[in-house]
Point group: C2
Chain length 228, copies 2
């Protein structure tokens, strides 16, 4: 009854992809321990099954190629275990939180850590990453590192909605985490593992929530060594 999760890794083996962390936390939430298969960007096509991105989950006959679909799949496959998306409203929430995360968090975080990611990648991955990301940024990786302060200020401002939520509850899911928490967690774990910059002050409510997430599932997130 083993399932296999293909996930992106840095040259030293650390898992850093925000979307792969969504999948890892979702699996742990359901009490499923997958076999982990490390891939580099240059290996993704070798996964087969039409994979062009990671994470990819192989679960018996199922091939699930997207972190959102993995969450849906896990709730369907294990209906008696703690739900990731207990209600239709939680699906709506997770979709909104996803759109918020990719536009308001991933973008400034990516600019903050882009050069750090390149430093951490396997040499086989570096040329692809530099070419594709510099095209996306319309700037060199090093030049965005030089304007880090502005992106850091933007990120901290963009996190304001979470501070309001965490003033009255421990997780986006309420007293316990749900899939929406893992969506945001992935973004900050990406920066924690591979970035060389501390994003938040320790007294920030978002930082305190992130520490709670690092403790979840027997410290799954915390076991991955931090970049700084």
């Amino acid at each position: 009854m083993t399932c296999t999760l293909f996930e992106l890794r840095a040259a030293d083996g650390r898992a850093f992809s925000p979307f792969c962390w969504r999948a890892r936390m979702a699996l742990a939430h359901k009490g499923v321990e997958p076999a982990l298969r490390a891939v580099r960007f240059c290996d993704i096509a070798d996964i087969g099954h039409g994979a062009t991105t990671v994470p990819v989950l192989l679960d018996e006959d199922a091939v699930v190629r997207d972190s959102w679909d993995i969450a849906i799949h896990l709730d369907q496959r294990w209906p008696d275990r703690p739900p990731l998306l207990p209600t239709e409203g939680d699906r709506r929430m997770a979709q909104f939180v996803h759109q918020w995360t990719v536009t308001q968090l991933h973008l400034p975080i990516f600019k903050i850590i882009a050069a750090d990611i390149w430093d951490a990648l396997d040499a086989q991955d570096q040329p692809y990453f530099r070419a594709s990301r510099e095209k996306r940024l319309n700037a060199t990786l090093e030049s965005v590192r030089n304007v880090q302060a502005g992106n850091l200020a933007q990120l901290r401002a963009n996190l304001a909605p979470l501070r309001g939520v965490f003033s009255t509850q421990a997780f986006l899911g309420g007293a316990q985490p749900l899939y929406a928490d893992y969506i945001v967690f992935g973004a900050l774990q990406w920066a924690r593992v591979v970035g060389q910059v501390k994003l938040l002050d320790g007294d920030d409510a978002v930082s305190q929530w992130f520490e709670r997430c690092l403790d979840l599932h027997e410290g799954l997130g915390r076991r991955e060594p931090a970049g700084v």
Copy 2:
């Protein structure tokens, strides 16, 4: 079986408060037609019942003093009518959308329209509004009007999560609006009614969603005349 909604009005009688619009749309969603009572800032204490803000809903014996509590009240009072918050997940979502709206939308919108609000207010309200809001802004109302372009660009950037959501569904609630839609609607209706600036281009997915909201409940929102 009449209930009464106290709501903020401009000198010419137009309803503009974002929180009052949440309540108006929520009442219409439940098919409840309240008696409307116009108040100015300087009248709020006269409502009684400990009111210090609007909206305030009087519904038989109940006094409901906050837009969120009004939504909760209406779903409890009319459980057989279309729900505003059908699941626990929708409550979680509405809380996050509320925090997102007040920090990421209200703040730039307020800076864009602050001087327009002052222009629209009854003369009795103007001194209070100017003093309290200039203290909050740490600037004169006129000086924030002069940096409108930057606040407009910030607002448009902050709306990005909605564009992703509306690429696959008509409302935050899915095919039909829910309370989360009315939270965001209130922010844009505030600017539509009292502001002198067009916030969004017509081809923006957020603008198209807002037009759909203006059509809801027999054009309730659209019947309120726009500032421009």
